[in-house]
């Protein structure tokens, strides 16, 4: 997640080096020097800014000046940022571990603790890293039930590990000490037999495919309770104005992201998915921050400058591809091979899709509820398939590739039906099996052969 994988650069980071570095204040210096060393690896300034943002957020999570919330993908970052929390995305951090060449070790740790090799490796690697103490300690856990089942289950397990870890000391920050920390949704007065110092776990229940009034009300009321509960528990200001401000910033970032996406329709595409893959970090935890605004504005400016410069010349675009789901984050040649050898340019990817409408700062809970409920992947397969078809048309693609990440029931579970739907509409789709995090689960040679065949067919 910090540009091309680090082992491409011959950096041999061992687990103990990283753990030591991260546990001390040296994290910032280490990260910055890595980024400085790798400056040339970033073809876009905005992409480098993403790496810096991820690093700074992680440093903040370790410094612990504000409570750190671990959040699942698509949890409402605007609300939590507006409350002054530091956010940490274990799923995105697993991608970083994979890029650092550390994921396999972390997966091994989780597996040795009974975690099945069939679960999603974004979560399993995070579990291993948590057991090893590599990740910052969460003060609270917030999972949204969209998109997948893995994150809520992971967070429940993380809490359990913390509750029963013998060496677990008292809570290191103010707040949360004086009460049991159940989180939400449980029966009042349920017995909790673990010490009160471990983090509360909040699950936001996002109904699947229901965008009606009742669903909006249901989700909005959960967000509102979360807001009040956190304000009280962590003695935060509980000032709705700051949440509204975060929503304005989110809208601003959204505006630049949409504008940058517009440019990707051009041929040749000024910025391909290969360059913006790491933006999932911003998507997961950045919206609601000033950094996200800066990152997307810079991306837009860079894409627009390139579009003017190239004027359609100099880049071979044998065929245009829409990529569904994520890509492998460890070292590998898949995307480079596709673009540079086969001339197949990934002009758009599913995670760049800005699927939600502008939020209303005056209705923070309601508009965040609508945003959550409107995710194309969280509803009937036709909803996602229609979105994919629309993207295929808007970005003038010749074919679609779905990367079927082994443990992902949410995305991979629907791949065959999407392929079928697209076929009915004359759009070819290839399903590539693999794993985004675990190189043990991926045969690159085989994937490349299949890609070659697909591109031949398209071109």
């Amino acid at each position: 997640m910090v540009g091309p994988p680090l082992d491409d650069f011959g950096l041999n980071l061992t687990k103990s080096v990283v753990r030591h570095a991260l546990r001390t204040r040296a994290v910032s210096a280490l990260g910055r020097s890595i980024l400085a060393m790798r400056r040339n690896a970033f073809s876009l300034r905005s992409t480098q800014a993403v790496a810096e943002f991820a690093l700074e957020e992680t440093v903040r999570a370790f410094n612990g000046k504000a409570p750190t919330a671990w959040t699942s993908a698509f949890a409402p970052s605007e609300l939590l940022r507006g409350m002054g929390l530091t956010l940490f995305s274990p799923e995105a951090a697993s991608a970083v571990l994979s890029a650092f060449g550390l994921a396999t070790q972390m997966l091994g740790v989780a597996e040795a603790h009974g975690h099945s090799r069939d679960t999603c490796t974004f979560h399993r690697a995070a579990m291993g890293a948590h057991i090893e103490g590599i990740f910052p300690r969460p003060d609270l856990l917030v999972a949204a039930s969209h998109l997948c089942d893995g994150a809520p289950r992971l967070f429940c397990s993380i809490r359990e590990v913390m509750a029963h870890r013998e060496e677990d000391g008292p809570h290191r920050k103010a707040g949360g000490k004086d009460r049991k920390a159940e989180g939400n949704g449980a029966d009042s007065g349920s017995p909790v037999d673990a010490p009160p110092s471990y983090p509360p776990f909040y699950l936001l229940d996002i109904p699947w495919g229901d965008t009606g009034r009742d669903a909006v009300r249901y989700v909005a009321s959960q967000l509102e309770s979360l807001f009040h509960d956190l304000a009280q528990r962590f003695r935060l200001p509980g000032d709705l104005e700051r949440v509204k401000e975060a929503i304005r910033l989110s809208n601003e970032a959204r505006k630049w992201a949409v504008a940058a996406n517009e440019l990707k329709r051009l041929s040749p595409c000024p910025v391909t998915a290969r360059e913006v893959a790491d933006y999932v970090y911003v998507l997961f935890i950045g919206f609601g921050s000033e950094e996200a605004v800066r990152i997307y504005r810079t991306l837009y400016e860079e894409a627009s400058a390139r579009a003017h410069r190239s004027g359609g010349q100099g880049v071979e675009e044998r065929c245009r591809i829409l990529w569904l789901h994520l890509r492998p984050f460890y070292a590998g040649r898949l995307w480079t091979y596709m673009e540079e050898t086969l001339g197949a340019r990934i002009v758009f990817d599913e995670f760049s899709n800005i699927y939600w409408d502008e939020l209303d700062p005056d209705k923070p809970f309601e508009s965040l509820a609508v945003k959550a409920l409107s995710h194309p992947g969280h509803g009937p397969i036709e909803r996602r398939a229609r979105t994919v078809l629309r993207l295929a048309e808007e970005y003038h693609v010749d074919g679609v590739i779905h990367f079927s990440h082994w443990g992902c029931r949410q995305s991979s579970g629907g791949a065959l039906m999407i392929k079928d739907y697209l076929k009915e509409h004359g759009v070819p789709m290839l399903i590539l099996d693999g794993d985004c995090i675990d190189r043990r689960n991926y045969a690159e040679g085989q994937a490349m052969t299949r890609l070659e065949g697909f591109v031949e067919m398209l071109a």
Binding site: D149, E160, G183, A186, W208
Partner: protein
Amino acid sequence: MRDKLVGWTCTYIPEEIILAAGLRPVRLLGTQEPVRVADYLVPSNLCPYVRSIIDQVSSVRPDGVFVASSCNAAEHLIDALRRQFSDIFCHLVQVPRIRDTGAISYYEEQIRLMIRVIEDGFDVKITPEALKNAISIVSCIKNLLHRAYDLLKRPEPAITGGRYLRMVEMAMTADKAQAARELKDTLGGLAVEPEGPATAQEDPRPGRPRVFLVGSLCPISVVDVIEESGGVVVGEELCAGSRYFLTDDLPLSVDGAWPSGDSAWFSGDGACGQGLKAAGLGDIDIDDIIRYLAARYLAKEPCARMQDSGERYSRLVERIKALNADGVIFYVLKFCDMYLYEYPILQGRLDRLGIPVILLEGDYTAGGIEQARTRIGAFIEMLDSRRI
């Protein structure tokens, strides 16, 4: 003409609605054989229960199916059914994952929606009377199952785990009147004293290792293998087992009589306030009934998909301890994230108590169970050696 069959997939779905519409609710339990149709719709690394249901629907052709939003696999199930069987009525029931008042209100709306779609889809009208009657019938069945479970839980079980789970399966799939009759006959035939030790009509096998079973969907043949290997199943927490009928507020006193429509059944209600209690079954209106159903279903013993901050495991461990189980068998279907994540949690808690546990992963077919026989045998043997 056969009854109209309407399948349901998850114990959070109130089958009372189907029954009140004059249709026959049937729990879909899949073919439990290698699949054919499902392979065209969903990948092989998706829940085998869900895959098996796709094939079951293809062969049984029910008139309707209610799928709960239990998990990602179940969401793909509704998509697959709609795509493949456009002539079959299919509806997704949104089941909340939390249990507070907001969730109950939302679930109420989902039950109302269930009523509307079933009325439209089958051209029927669900009256308050029909709904009350359906609630009484289902309650009667669940109370009988509760009694069967009590037999299993005794110090010397008066029934085998296999027989007990077959009773639960029958109750979920057979015509309800027939199910109630059969349950009463079976329970009567066991001639169990209400107090004191059970009359051991079935071999109680004293002294054998006592096993508690946890998991999602577990084929009954797994239980047979456990019992053939010398274990006694003394309790379970399974999706096609106690999770069907265990509710915090379920009254234990019902004698299994066919409901006459009186309000005794409601007397144990703690979930939806005084209003219902005072009103009694005869007077309450449809809104109260729906609210009651929503509250009651969400008050069920929570399964792994529900928001949990450790309570589920505390309660589970308490149940296991209370039954003096010598060991726990954790049976999980392959690719079921909900339960795969649960295993390390439970294992950790049981380890601290010195209660052995093994994980069995299954593909929901008979072939897979035979492979597990050796492991089950070795586990039971180990438990046995610890008892001496």
